[in-house]
Amino acid sequence: MDKSVAALTPVVENSKDWQRISPIALLFFTERLIKFFVSNLVAFLPALYFGYDGLKENPQLGLAIIVGILLFICLTTFLNYYFFQYRLTQDHIEIRSGVFSKKHINLPFSKIQNVKLEQPIYYRPFNYTCLQLDTAGSAKQEAQIVALKVDFAEQLKKEILAQYSITHHAESPDDSAELTPEAVENEIILNTRSIADLVIHGITNNRIWIFLGGLAPFFDKIASYIVSTFSDFGINIEQLLTFSDKPMWQITLYAVTLTFLILLPFIFFSIAGSVVTFYHYTLSKVGDRYIRRSGLLTKYEVSMRLSRLQMVIRQQDWLDLLLKRINLKFEQANNVLTQHQAGAQNNRIIVPSIFAHQCAALVDDVYPNNQMMTIAYQRISKRFLLRNLVFILLPLYSLVTVFLTVTGKTQLLWGITPLAIFAALLIFMRWYRWGYASDDNYIYIRRGFFGVDYLCFEHYKVQQVKFKQSWFQQRHQLCSISVVLAAGAINLPFIKADKGSAMLDEILYQVESSGKSWM
C-alpha cells in the first residue's frame, strides 16, 4: 500500500510556504458579496425607503452612495482575496481566510470525505475551478480553495481521495479490493441525460410548486393586475367568469385554459431550472466512487464513495408514473443545516428522469442483490385509515358543516365538501402506498400519495431507532417505528407491534455486531 502512496504523491508538491490564489478569485468574491447583498435585501429595504425622499432632493448624494458602495465592494473583494491563503503540507491542507474574523482551517487529507469541483461560468475561459472539501463533521467545517487551475485541482483531488482510501484500507480489510491506482484512471460512464430528458424532468419535478408557494402572498395583487390589464384590452374577465348564464362545457373549457395559461410560465421556469442544473449530465464511476457532473452556467461536480451512501430513493410523482420516468437519488449524510440551503440540490447525487431498466441497473450497481422491485411489500394496518378518516377528518368536517349551517353560509359547503373528499382520497392513497419489507441485507420502504417512492437502505447504516405506541395502538397490538439514518428519519406508522420490534431488534443487532462503519 505504501507503494501506491509513492506513486501518487509526487503529483502535487508539498509547499511549505503560504500561497495566494489566482487574482481571478476577485470575481468569485465579488459574486459572493453581491449574492450576500441580494439575499439580505430585506434588511436594506427600510434604509432605502427612508432615504428615498432625501435622495430625490439632492441626486448627487445618490451618486456618492453608489460610488461608496462600489468602493466598498472593490475593497472588500480585494481584502478577501488578499487574506486568502493556502498551503499544502504532508497530508494536510491549511487555509487561512477572512478579513476581520480570521479563519484558519487545518484539514488532514484523511478526514476529507468528499471533494467537489465547482466551475462558475466566468472561470471557464481561464480554466480555473473552485475546490470544495467536505468533512464528516458539521457544515461549518467545510473548506474551499476559491481559484485553482483545473489540472492542479484535479491532481489535488486525486491525491486527497487516494490518501483517504489508503488510510481506510488499513482499517477495514474487507474493502481492500476496491481502489487500486489503475482503477483511478478508468472512469466508467453509467448514465447521461439528453436535453429531452431534462425537459421531461422540468415538467414532472415539483420544484415549480415550491415556487408557486413562495408567490402565494402576492396572488391577490397579481390577480387584480391581470384583471385590470385585460380590461384595458376590452375584455371583461368578471363577466366571462360569471358562470350562471353559460353552459357547463364552456365553464370547463375556461377552467382548463385558465389553469394551463397560468401554469405555462411556471412550467417554463421549471424546465429552465432543470436544464440549467442538469445540462450535460453524466453519472460516472471510478473504482468505488460515483461522480455526478452537470451544469449549464456553473459546472458542478459531486462525488461520493460507495461507503458514504446512506440510502437510495426511487422517486416517481404521479406525472412520472404517467410518463414512466423515475428520479433516482443517492442520499448521503446531510445534516439539517445544509439541507435547507439554496444550493442543496446541487450537492446530492440525483439521476433525473430515467427509465425503469436504467434505474434498476443503477440500484443493482450500488446495492447488489437488492429486491427493491420484486420483494412483497407488507401494507400498514387499516387502522391508519380508521384513525385519520374517522377520528380526524370526519369530526373536523362535521364541525365545519355544523358551523356553516348554523351561521347560514351553506353555499360554502360546495367548497368544503370536495376538499374533504380530496383529503380522504389522499389519506386512502397514503395508506395504499405505505409498505415495508426487509431481507438479510436491506430494508425496503414504499410510500407516497399519488406518486410512489421506494426507499432502500442497509441495516447497519442506521443511527438510532424509535418505537412508538399510543394507548390506542397498544390495545390493538400496533406500533409506529422510526428509523434515523444520517440522511434523515424514516417513519413507519401502524404496523404490527411484534413485527416492528423484531425489525428494530434486527437493525440494532446488525449495527452492533457487524461493527461496520456507517460512512
Binding site: Q463, K466, F467, K468, Q469, W471, A502, E512, G515, M519
Partner: protein, 180 residues
C-alpha cells in the same frame, strides 16, 4: 475483530436480544419533585405578576384591559395547572435502560416512545446541568449521532454520579470499538 467485543452469541431471530425485554430503570425521583416545584412556582409567578400589573396604581389600566387580565389569569392558571399535572404523571413514565451495546430511553404518558441509541453510532456525549440541576445534584445526558440535531438522544434527571458513569461507559466503549 469486533466479534470479541460483542458478547451476544445467539444468532437465530427468535433469540436476538430484544428491546421488549429491556430492564428499565426510573430516572431520579428528585427530578420529578424539582420539576413539580418549578412548574407550580412558575405558574404562580406569572399569575401573580399579572395580578400585580392589574392592581397597581402607577399606570392605571383601562377597564377593558383589566377585564382582559382576569381572563388571562384564568387561562394561565388553567394551562399551568394542566401542564403541572401532566408533567407530574409523565415524569413518572421516564425510564432508561443501558445495555452493553446500546442506550434506551422510554417516555410518554399516552404516546409511549422508546428511543434506542447504539453506542457505535455515537458521535459525542454531553452532560448538561442547568442551575437547578446543579442545586439538586442532577444532570441531563445528551448523546449525538450523525442523525442530526433533531434526533439528539437525551436522558434527563440522572443523578450526577450515574450520568458520569454512563458517559464514561460510552467513551470507553468508543475506545474499544474505534472504527473509521
Amino acid at each position: 475483530m469486533q466479534g470479541t467485543a460483542f458478547t451476544n452469541t445467539s444468532l437465530t431471530a427468535e433469540s436476538l436480544p430484544s428491546l421488549v425485554e429491556l430492564e428499565f430503570q426510573p430516572i431520579s425521583a428528585i427530578y420529578r419533585q424539582s420539576n413539580l416545584i418549578i412548574n407550580v412556582a412558575f405558574t404562580l409567578f406569572l399569575v401573580t405578576l399579572l395580578f400585580v400589573i392589574q392592581q397597581q396604581n402607577i399606570w392605571p389600566l383601562s377597564n377593558d384591559v383589566a377585564d382582559l387580565f382576569n381572563w388571562l389569569m384564568l387561562v394561565l392558571f388553567m394551562l399551568g395547572g394542566f401542564n403541572t399535572l401532566y408533567a407530574a404523571f409523565a415524569d413518572k413514565q421516564k425510564f432508561y435502560a443501558l445495555r452493553q451495546q446500546d442506550l434506551s430511553y422510554r417516555s410518554g404518558l399516552l404516546f409511549r416512545k422508546t428511543v434506542s441509541q447504539p453506542m457505535l453510532r455515537i458521535q459525542h456525549v454531553e452532560l448538561k446541568r442547568g442551575p437547578i440541576d446543579r442545586k439538586v445534584g442532577l444532570a441531563k445526558l445528551q448523546v449525538f449521532s450523525a442523525g442530526g440535531a433533531m434526533h439528539t438522544f437525551e436522558i434527563p434527571g440522572l443523578p450526577l454520579a450515574s450520568a458520569e458513569s454512563i458517559r464514561q461507559f460510552i467513551l470507553d466503549h468508543k475506545d474499544v470499538n474505534r472504527h473509521g
